[in-house]
Symmetry: C2
Subunit: 410 residues, 2 copies
Amino acid sequence: MTAEPTTTPSTSPAPADTSGAASRQHTLRERNLRLVARAVYDAAASGAATTPPSRADVAAATGLTRATVSTLVDRLVAARLVAELAPAPAQRAGRPAVPLVPAPRTVVGLGLEVNVDYLGVRVLDLAGDVVAERVERGAFHDADPGRTLGSLGALAADAVARVEAEGMRVAGARLALPGLVDARTGELEVAPNLGWSSLDPVPHLGLDLPVRVANEAKLAALAELAGDVPDSFLYVSGDVGIGAAIVVDRALFLAERGWNGEVGHVVVDPAGPRCTCGAHGCLEQYAGKEAVLRAAGLASDAAVGDLVTRLQGDDDVARAAVVRAGQALGSALADFVNLTGVSTVVLGGVYTELLPWLAAEVDAGLTERVLAAPFAAPDVRAAGAGKFAALTGGAREVLRDVVADPASWV
Amino acid sequence: MTAEPTTTPSTSPAPADTSGAASRQHTLRERNLRLVARAVYDAAASGAATTPPSRADVAAATGLTRATVSTLVDRLVAARLVAELAPAPAQRAGRPAVPLVPAPRTVVGLGLEVNVDYLGVRVLDLAGDVVAERVERGAFHDADPGRTLGSLGALAADAVARVEAEGMRVAGARLALPGLVDARTGELEVAPNLGWSSLDPVPHLGLDLPVRVANEAKLAALAELAGDVPDSFLYVSGDVGIGAAIVVDRALFLAERGWNGEVGHVVVDPAGPRCTCGAHGCLEQYAGKEAVLRAAGLASDAAVGDLVTRLQGDDDVARAAVVRAGQALGSALADFVNLTGVSTVVLGGVYTELLPWLAAEVDAGLTERVLAAPFAAPDVRAAGAGKFAALTGGAREVLRDVVADPASWV
């Protein structure tokens, strides 16, 4: 897990102390438990190369006494949130240090997703491993929301039953949807590619679990945190639409209702083609999946693999289509970087596969237009989280809440 | 002062407890002092209509015991951070409630600014009143940085001497500069309109005070918090260049180095005129002050008042120039809103005066292009903080730090 990846910029005041000394002690103990849990999880998140911390390392990292840390670690081990590995040979006299790691296959989080052509369920444990997964292909454009969400709920219930049968506890779920989701309420305002609007999706799932809803690109961005990314980055995912997220200090930027990153509708050319949104010359008309496929001489529902084959074969029309998309993307991403001040752009969705043919034009656009480029060169890279990244990001969010409040689990 | 207006999205972990029980007690007492100070200042910031809180009100707001609050208020009063007003007549039996307010003319903050055509110093007290001010007009394009900052430092030292002679304590200063300031280090990378680059300005001021440096538009945005604005807004200030800031939950959004809000270089039309930045069709070429004045048939260094006179006289060329600027501004602001998800835009600088003639085009652009407009209509309004807003914003930032850490002052 990661360093405090809260989903909202947390600027609210610290909660006031309740008045009794007993409850103050209680609050302090919970806070210390959180510090200890975070020390173990942060060390695990910082990469396999790091040696897992011992109780002494946790004491050093948190500033708590070794006796306090030992008591709290014992509670986390008893609750199966933290596991002890075999002791390393002692470096000096005394008891050998016991390495502490996030416990595998104990508490797990569920990532759920409805997208245009699949339903997905992925279950992650605290160690970050996938312990169950189910993806069903389908065609969900204009599908009935109740029935579709009911099917996803059934897949999820099945996964929950299986992992619970193995003794795991499910902490909750996140549902990813390709649309405008109100980050405060979880209401879906509109998902154009599903044809859904004004919907509270959670009851339709029929799950006896806490479920929260988020935009698909936002959760996919969080999946990148498991890899080697800077703490702040822009995530831009190309599909029929273009989704995006702003990650700052390993947390989603979600001002107001979290309706940000609409890079697909940034102005590329006011004289350009009319967009589905009604305006002219939006990025989506140059660099959306269907626009690129059509410009390359393919059917708008062709597979991106077909485009890649043509690009590898030096097909001129395909090359020109991708160069045009890259130029438009460079222009719109320069606006995104200039406006947010975040200088790393992670390209997901179809852009990951197309990046070798897009990169030169995107880089040129950023170099030309980003004001701060001479002082902090923009960095464009391919997403690393793989297929169905929103499932991973959603499950990680559930587990982040567990680590942020371990007292509820011990 | 305002509700926790931190300057960075605070997502870092809470500081670890140091191990001794004594130091834990100390930390707790400081935190409680901060809660009490904040309760008094938040009440004052929430508007003159609110009755100042009594000790009992503070206890209710913070969840601390009345005895604890009374002790802490006494400390804040003794340190002259909080003042007691005459007691209101008792509503019931017992001692009458003593209203608590931020203390006037005791601890003060300094706002400093170098801009293209003036040097400024403004001193604000905790009650939000200006207790000293000095603005000197001049021409500072290509002025020697050492000499210019030295002159500003002399103005500031003079103001400090005067307020200290009246018994006030100066908590520190913020220096506003029109350029790329690294929010982490306070280094100025480049201020094109001053012709300055790669500079640490603070030593040149020669002040014996803690001084921090920030971008001018960022500090001007914070000055809006004294008025009636939503907690999150985009601030866009028109001058020769166009500066901007993103305010979220009453704090500046400052990802990475805080180099955001470069709305002046958002693409309006790739076939448009070449910009000073080297790219084509940037907003600045349509809606920057010089571009608008020239398009209106005025000299590029004419006063904006001259343009307003022509607009009031229904001069067709002037009207057309402002319509063109408004269309470009509408397009670029739509990108800004779509990318950040912040739906209120506060227009400062020359735009405040020009807004009556810009508003229709700006509104039309936002309505056409902002995806979430049907669910959260964008709101465009004039800035309210008046002239030299960055001076006010800078002084407020200094005082915010005082309220956030009152223990250093008692």
